[in-house]
Amino acid sequence: MDKLRKRKNVISRIIFQTATIAGIFALSILLFSIINEAFGYVIFVNENSPADIYDSDKNLNDADEDELIAILEQNLSKGLIRRFNFEKPFAERDVKNILELVMVEVVNPEIVKAWSLTSSIFGRKKILDTLAQDYPTGNLEFRSWLTLKFLFAPQSSIPEKTGIITALSGSLLLLLIAIILAFPLGVGTAIYMEEYAKQNRLNSLIQLNIYNLAGIPSIIYGMLGLAVFVRFLEPITSGQIFTTTVNNTANGRTILSAGLTLGLLILPIIIINAQEAIRAVPKSLKFSSYGLGATKWQTIWHHIIPYSMDRILTGSILAVSRALGETAPLIVIGASTFVAQKPNSIFSKFTALPIQIYQWTARPQPEFRKVAAAAIIVLLVLLLTLNAGAVLLRNHHNQKKKG
């Protein structure tokens, strides 16, 4: 082999290898940039410093109940004190609870500046300089934006207090409605296409149509949902025909509308996966069932569905994970920008985890970017769990079929 050909061969190999690694590297940077934003130093500035409101040489954490109540009474209006007392009398509250009240209402620490993980590690000196120069009264703290509180707090306009419980419960309800619509419809269609449909023009049109539906941009499904579920079916999707007391400002932009739209969106994915699952059922199984005199439906119900169920479920889990991350159709349908309460019915206004991430990212304050990063981590962990579930199910299936 001459030298030139050999050299070309080696160089090209390096190029191909580099491309593969570059692609994976880009994706790792993506993940890293999110983690980078979700942790880092922050500077707190207290509205009232603990030294001012309490004895300057003692720690606020050591104060007893009476002292804390005294602090509250000194710094808050009478009306506010009465409200807290009404919510739960001070006598019944424990020290921890009152301390928290003092921290939130009187000390009221506010984040004025936040850094990313890398600048926290490599630029510590600069951060300390900023603290000394610009915020002499501030406290430096290493903060994880992803906390338990963040998971269970409702939405708030203050970045350090906001949380994702409303968005999470919204997403959960959306997925539930989507799967209730799409699973029976999708599996039913797949059974029809694989077991009943004769090869004629209509059925090949249906098949072609299913493949095309899977390729339509999700925002178009959003427009379908907007015109059909939100506008045309408003009396149903806003729940007006079910209750006489019309107490609804959602105008059809409800969890039900959004869930149904997501259901239509994942329908082709479920059909295609279920078709593949049913196609993989061994012919011998079917023939033996027919041979014993079973009808078509008896064969399908007792043999084909049970045999292919775990593969159908695997495909459906993947479809659900697709629905979980969908943002564009929900925006078109009209997700609400601010929902502070958990949805109480399927006729409530809605927000969802990806919508929340979108809104936080689009805000100008840099702190909200950190909050968005924390929410993205939650979303990715949920997706990873779903995917891992699907993979486990697949492996379980493979082992069973082998054994």
Binding site: F16, A19, G23, S33, L185, I219, P268, L324, A328, A362
Partner: protein, 310 residues
């Protein structure tokens, strides 16, 4: 799709109730299958009705819609070219990133990499292909844009720009193109390769001279599916490409795409039957047909190359 044996022969001997049950179930499942057609019909119907209202409103003619380079709904200028232009720009940048990377990675995985490496990388690519696009939008805005600003200068690169959105989109479709192309490359019969090796060809010569040409249709299909994905992609451009239409060929300037406009307008509370409301459907039907054509073309190509080797 084709039932292999017909059970209806036996069904004549069934009891009446069992027969009705079988018929009822068949009818029900048939109805389910027709619903998927209904979804397509619904999409086409709704998009065309609203788009018709848009064009019959007297504000804009179809000719003006496709020729004017101004999209300013406030002053009643509805020319789709600026939106289309930025859609094509983001998609082109995405393909420039994902195309070479995807195809090189596919060649490496199918021709060079060990099975062990392949078994590790493919699931990673699959999982990464499932990351929601909103995450890529966040990445474009918080990482790629500052990165571009560092390289090209703060004044040249806008906060919102099509380059950043396009690059993020390229990373998004890279796993898809790599995976689909790898499938196409692996489907090339091993005999072709062995014959070439037998004649003393190098690995490069086999990969680019034998395998690549044999799999070219599958790779083309992968590119077209990737392009269709890029054209319809919404969240990345909504976050990173900017609001407000702008007819520019400069990738560092802010320019709204078709999907970005739809998302922004429908995200605010708009009244039904306004020009704004109808305009998103006019754009929607245009978008629908672009992606439909791309999808059908890619399916035809895939069908064709399947026929060659099956």
């Amino acid at each position: 799709m084709k039932p292999d044996i017909d059970a209806s022969f036996f069904e004549k001997n069934l009891s009446k109730t069992l027969q009705t049950k079988e018929l009822f179930i068949k009818g029900l499942l048939n109805f389910f299958a027709l619903i998927s057609i209904g979804v397509t019909v619904g999409i086409v119907y709704i998009l065309s009705v609203e788009a018709f209202l848009f064009f019959s409103g007297g504000e804009v003619s179809i000719l003006e819609f496709f020729s004017s380079i101004q999209w300013q709904p406030v002053i009643k200028k509805f020319g789709i070219l600026p939106l289309l232009n930025s859609t094509l720009m983001t998609s082109l940048i995405a393909m420039l990133v994902a195309g070479p990377l995807g195809i090189f990675a596919a060649i490496y995985m199918s021709e060079y990499a060990s099975n062990k490496f392949k078994a590790k990388v493919k699931p990673i690519l699959e999982i990464l292909a499932g990351i929601p696009t909103i995450v890529y939008g966040y990445f474009a805005l918080t990482f790629i844009t500052p990165f571009l600003k560092n390289i090209f200068g703060n004044d040249i690169v806008d906060v919102y720009n099509t380059a950043s959105a396009g690059i993020a989109m390229g990373i998004l479709i890279f796993p898809m193109i790599a995976s689909m192309s790898e499938d196409a490359l692996s489907a090339v019969p091993i005999g072709l390769k062995q014959a070439a090796y037998g004649l003393g060809a190098t690995k490069l010569e086999v990969s680019t001279g034998i395998v690549l040409p044999a799999a070219v249709s599958g790779i083309m299909a992968a590119f077209i599916v990737g392009l269709s994905r890029a054209v319809g992609e919404t969240m990345i451009v909504a976050l990173a490409a900017g609001a407000g239409s702008n007819f520019t060929f400069n990738p560092f300037k802010s320019a709204e795409t078709m999907t970005g406009y739809i998302a922004r307008i429908s995200g605010g509370d708009i009244g039904y039957d306004t020009v704004d409301y109808n305009s998103i459907f006019a754009i929607g039907i245009f978008l629908f047909f672009i992606t439909l054509v791309l999808n059908i073309v890619s399916q035809k190509i895939i069908q064709r190359y399947r026929e060659i080797y099956d």
